[in-house]
């Protein structure tokens, strides 16, 4: 690590005329997975100390989490993170604060790990927030600053959030033909009333173990409201399935849960999402992983997940009325085209047709819009029919 830093510094000096704010460099092969998290955190601090005493500018290499540094692996069929890094240096005016914040969050995580406690990302924000001595400046001005720092730490240390003892709020729920153990409590997911089981942020095998599964597949819907429709109509019972929702963009807990159900219970995942660029992207995240968290794709992405609706062709297919239409605005079209250009969408004829059709339609549709026919249309007719029309699913 230290050796690498020196070389970077040299190259920086030689190219210091332009003083690039971000030094992009190749990341070394990941080889720290066996190391315990607390050692990784210690290592981070040690490298700073070492550099300081060695009269080198302390810096942390943080893999870049952006489209430019991810690639779609056609073999694994999910997004993988590239090996380009950004160097975060203390003695760079633009990065100094971020550097300080990174170390500060790291020290808080170390405390958590040592005490074997977990904290939410918001709690981390408050733990690390204080006024800097002798000034009026706060270490963090908002949670928007601390959240990315946590993610930075995750990638930099190659430690998952769970391993850092940090979790996010529960988002998303589950109900259906599944029995599992959560922190020692056995939960029968068929007996959860109307509220279902809130999927926690951490669903690792040490927390949740699957016991019994009668379901044939998992139906993931976009939002809580749609999910309730299905629950009320006891869709999971009639169709022997598990119903999940992610409250919009699914959190890591939900995605990890979907992955485990697919991976361990061998259940197919089908998605019922809105017919808009958002919906497409939610599907894409479930299937291929997200750009931001590409480093976790391998343990979250479900490449076999499939998109059953709502499709741009459903307007005609189900003879819907004009009432379901929401006009596309400029941003929607822009985003749709962007999605079309993602390497993992490119080359898929069906998707191309689907997105182009939406742009051609000039409108988008929410799952709720299907209620315009009648309240239970989505559970009684639409979804069962779509489940049968396997050929018009989107992959």
């Amino acid at each position: 690590m230290a050796k690498k830093k020196t070389s970077t510094k040299k190259s920086k000096k030689s190219a210091s005329k332009k003083a690039p704010k971000t030094v992009i460099k190749k990341r070394s092969k990941r080889g720290k997975n066996g190391v315990k998290t607390t050692n990784k955190l210690e290592g981070l601090a040690e490298s700073v100390v070492e550099n300081a005493f060695g009269k080198r500018e302390p810096a942390i290499d943080i893999p870049i989490r952006a489209l430019s540094n991810v690639s779609f692996n056609p073999k694994t069929r999910y997004i993988e993170m590239g090996d380009r890094c950004q160097q975060r240096s203390l003695f760079n005016y633009g990065q100094a604060k971020r550097f300080m914040q990174t170390l500060l969050v790291a020290s808080k995580c170390k405390e958590l790990v040592d005490a074997d406690k977990t904290a939410s990302i918001r709690q981390i924000y408050y733990l690390a927030k204080h006024t800097i001595k002798g000034t009026k400046e706060k270490t963090f001005d908002s949670q928007d600053e601390s959240d990315p720092v946590i993610e930075d730490l995750e990638v930099a240390l190659e430690a998952l959030r769970e391993e850092l003892h940090v979790f996010a709020g529960s988002k998303g729920a589950l109900i259906g033909e599944l029995t599992f153990v959560d922190s020692g409590d056995t939960i029968d997911a068929t007996k959860l009333g109307s509220g279902g089981y809130a999927i926690p942020s951490i669903v690792e095998p040490n927390v949740i173990q699957f016991k019994k599964c009668k379901a044939k597949y998992v139906l993931h819907v976009e939002k809580d409201t749609v999910w309730r429709r299905f629950v009320e109509d006891r869709f999971w019972e009639k169709h022997r399935c598990i119903l999940t929702h992610g409250g919009g963009q699914p959190s890591r807990g939900v995605r990890r849960m979907l992955y485990r159900m697919h991976d361990e219970l061998k259940l197919p995942i089908v998605c019922l999402l809105d017919n808009d660029p958002w919906g497409y992207y939610i599907y894409s995240v479930i299937k291929q992983g997200s750009i931001n968290l590409a480093f976790e794709s391998s343990r979250m992405a479900v490449p076999n997940a499939q998109f059953i609706g709502v499709s741009s062709f459903d307007y005609k297919r189900f003879d819907l009325t004009d009432d379901v239409k929401i006009e596309l605005d400029g941003n929607d079209v822009k985003r749709a085209k962007q999605i079309l250009n993602y390497p993992w969408f490119a080359g898929k004829k069906a998707w191309e047709k689907e997105i182009k059709q939406m742009i051609k339609n000039g409108f988008k549709m929410e799952v709720e819009a299907l209620c315009s026919k009648n309240l239970t249309f989505v559970t009684d007719e639409y979804t069962p029919q779509r489940l049968k029309q396997r050929k018009s699913w989107l992959d």
Binding site: V49, A96, S107, I132
Partner: protein, 655 residues
């Protein structure tokens, strides 16, 4: 008959003054040319069509000579006595200018004592004393009691006064407004008697009226003291006597001025240059700067008999060779007798002269203040943190040599003084820069907007030099610009000598001077901004170092103090490097910390050229009473001036 009266006063306003103005009703108009001004009273007689109107004979009874004094008594605004406030300032100005001219010509370091006493609400007494060579007894009445009497008008030489109107006009103003005569005491040296005169001006005859005359005992050795009582008003701030004195001190760092105002407050400006301005040489007029009428006059008045001798003898830069060339082109020869040269020939000669290529006039008639002296002057009068000055090489307009000097003072207390006086206003409205203007070392206070110097400052793109400026205004900054024009004949826009006329050649020189100094200022401002940015960065790093040390301590075993020191060292190094990066980028955010003390109270002079070697002795006011005129040979400055032998303290008319 009223129209006649009006006509009598309707004198050409371009009267530039002339000695011995004889006004004769019958003089022909063709004779009144150039600066030789004759004032014609009455109408040119013409055939009358009605007998009821005045006949030429009756009119002739009313046609009579008007004294120049009488004329100015009525038109005192032409001389700068428009209102009470300006009257006081103009009087002070004339008195101080004369005192300075006299001292310099006499080779004495000027020490001027000026006092203004308030006698009643609008009545003041001005007392001005110098240590000049004094005036011989016989000349005192003429100098102070007669308009247009003096030593300066007839020569093309750089001096403050030019025409010989000023001080007698001030005396006349006092006389008119209060009825009190002017009191003058002059002594020419130790052991000589001091003469005290009380003078009034006979405005009809333009001659002194001696009211009292005696010999008195005075405590001072040599010099002249003038005392004028007048109706006036005293004010402070801009365009005040105090400002005039301040600016005079700036432009004349070789002068000690003590000023005691009506409030008994004493302002003292001590001499901080040990060198008198060089005495300038008189020059002959340059043909390109001469007008046809003047040429005619010169032909009439010259002592030369033949044309060739006249041309080469009366003008500068006309060699015998050129003289011959001019003569032949005009169809005449060098031998042509001047008496036989008619007006049409003069016209020809004039045209040829204007077309002939001639060398620029010599410039040893100019005595610029000098960049070093300007710096000293600015240091004396203005509290700022950055000073720079530059002297342009001499240039020529209309055949008159001139030289432009520019000085600048920036920042420091210029900004904070303003904050004190205006309070909160400062943050809302940043102050405008101030332009201080000089012509032959005389401060110009009025008609700034009409002045060539001011226009040049406004036209300069100050944004290039790191100052903010809206379109066509003065830059917004704690900033003072000094512009000095030295010339044998400064082209004023009006007789009250308040603004310099806008000649392209002059404008160009001013602009060059401004940009030369502006570049230095810009460099300084950029450097200063960079430094403050550098400090700001270091500050940020140090702020975070504490947090980082704490965090590291929480994660691993280390010595906090050692780590902190190690990081601080790195921060110091890194901010240097960061600063270098900034040089190349030029991207700057100006933000100064209060604690940035290294700039305060420091006089930053542009290292490159202007920091005078003798800078350290700036404030050592040894102020020797006997002046040492150091020879120029010692100086490295490559100015074209040469030191001139002391001119004998000739009696001169004080303007």
């Amino acid at each position: 008959m009223e129209d006649q009266r009006a006509n009598a006063v309707g004198i050409p306003s371009d009267i530039t003054g002339q000695t011995n103005v004889k006004l004769s009703p019958q003089c022909s108009i063709s004779d009144t040319v150039g600066k030789l001004t004759r004032i014609k009273a009455g109408k040119v007689s013409k055939k009358k069509s009605r007998t009821s109107r005045a006949s030429a004979e009756t009119m002739a009874k009313q046609q009579r000579e008007i004294s120049i004094s009488e004329f100015f008594a009525r038109n005192r605004h032409l001389l700068g006595f428009d209102n009470k406030r300006k009257a006081l300032l103009t009087s002070v100005k004339e008195a101080v200018d004369n005192a300075l001219d006299a001292c310099e010509e006499g080779g004495v370091f000027p020490e001027i004592y000026l006092e203004i006493k308030q006698l009643s609400e609008d009545r003041f007494r001005m007392i001005c004393r110098d240590n000049g060579p004094g005036i011989v007894k016989a000349q005192i009445p003429n100098i102070f009691g007669k308009l247009l009497y003096g030593s300066k008008f007839h020569r093309l030489k750089m001096s403050r006064g030019q025409q010989g109107i000023g001080i007698s006009a001030a005396g006349m103003y006092g006389l008119i407004t209060t009825g009190k005569p002017v009191s003058i005491i002059s002594r020419t040296g130790k052991g000589k008697p001091a003469h005290h005169y009380k003078l009034a001006i006979d405005t009809k005859k333009n001659k002194p009226d001696i009211i009292a005359e005696k010999t008195v005992e005075v405590p001072w050795e040599r010099g002249t003291e003038i005392e004028i009582e007048m109706v006036a008003s005293y004010n402070k701030g801009r365009q005040s006597v105090a400002e005039y004195i301040e600016l005079t001190a700036i432009a004349n760092p070789h002068t000690t001025i003590v000023f005691k105002g009506p409030d008994k407050k004493v302002l003292e400006y001590l001499r901080n240059v040990d060198e008198l301005p060089e005495q300038t040489e008189e020059i002959k007029p340059h043909p390109h700067g001469v007008e046809l009428g003047v040429l005619m006059k010169m032909v009439k008045e010259t002592s030369a008999k033949q044309l060739g001798a006249f041309l080469s003898g009366e003008f500068s830069r006309v060699s015998p060779k050129i003289s011959k060339e001019v003569c032949s082109k005009a169809g005449l020869t060098q031998r042509t007798w001047l008496q036989s040269v008619g007006p049409s020939d003069i016209q020809k000669i004039y045209n040829v002269l204007q077309e002939t290529k001639l060398r620029a006039p010599s410039t040893n008639c100019l005595a610029p203040i000098g960049a070093e002296a300007i710096l000293n002057g600015l240091l004396k009068g203005i509290k700022a943190e950055f000073y720079t000055a530059s002297t342009r090489p001499p240039a020529v307009y209309r055949g008159n040599p001139f030289q432009i000097e520019v000085g600048m003072a920036f920042g420091g207390q210029l900004g904070s003084l303003d904050a004190n006086s205006k309070g909160d206003d400062k943050s809302k409205q940043p102050q405008s820069a101030r332009v201080i203007r000089f012509a032959n070392r005389v401060p110009l206070l009025y008609q700034q907007g009409a002045c060539c110097t001011f226009k040049s400052v406004v036209d300069t793109k100050w944004n290039n030099y790191g100052l903010s400026q809206s379109r066509s205004t003065l830059p917004q900054a704690p900033f003072v610009v000094l512009i000095h024009m030295a010339s044998v004949w400064v082209p004023f826009t009006s007789e009250s000598k308040e603004a310099i006329a806008d000649y392209d050649e002059i404008r160009k020189e001013i602009k060059l001077g401004l940009s030369e100094c502006g570049r230095r200022l810009g460099t300084y401002i950029r450097r200063k901004k960079k430094r403050s940015h550098f400090a700001q960065r270091r500050d940020v790093f140090h702020r975070y170092i504490h947090e980082i040390v704490e965090s590291c301590r929480a994660m691993t075993v280390c010595n906090k103090d050692d780590l902190r020191n190690a990081l601080s060292d790195l921060a110091a190094r890194a901010t240097e490097a960061a600063d270098m990066e900034f040089d190349d980028h030029g991207k700057i955010i100006a933000k100064r910390k209060n604690g940035d003390s290294e700039m305060d109270n420091t006089i930053v002079l542009d290292e490159s050229q202007q920091a005078p070697a003798g800078q350290l002795e700036l404030f050592s006011n040894g102020a020797p009473t006997t002046p040492k005129r150091t020879t120029r040979a010692k100086k490295t400055r490559k100015s074209s001036k040469k030191s001139k032998k002391k001119s004998s303290s000739k009696t001169k008319k004080r303007r």
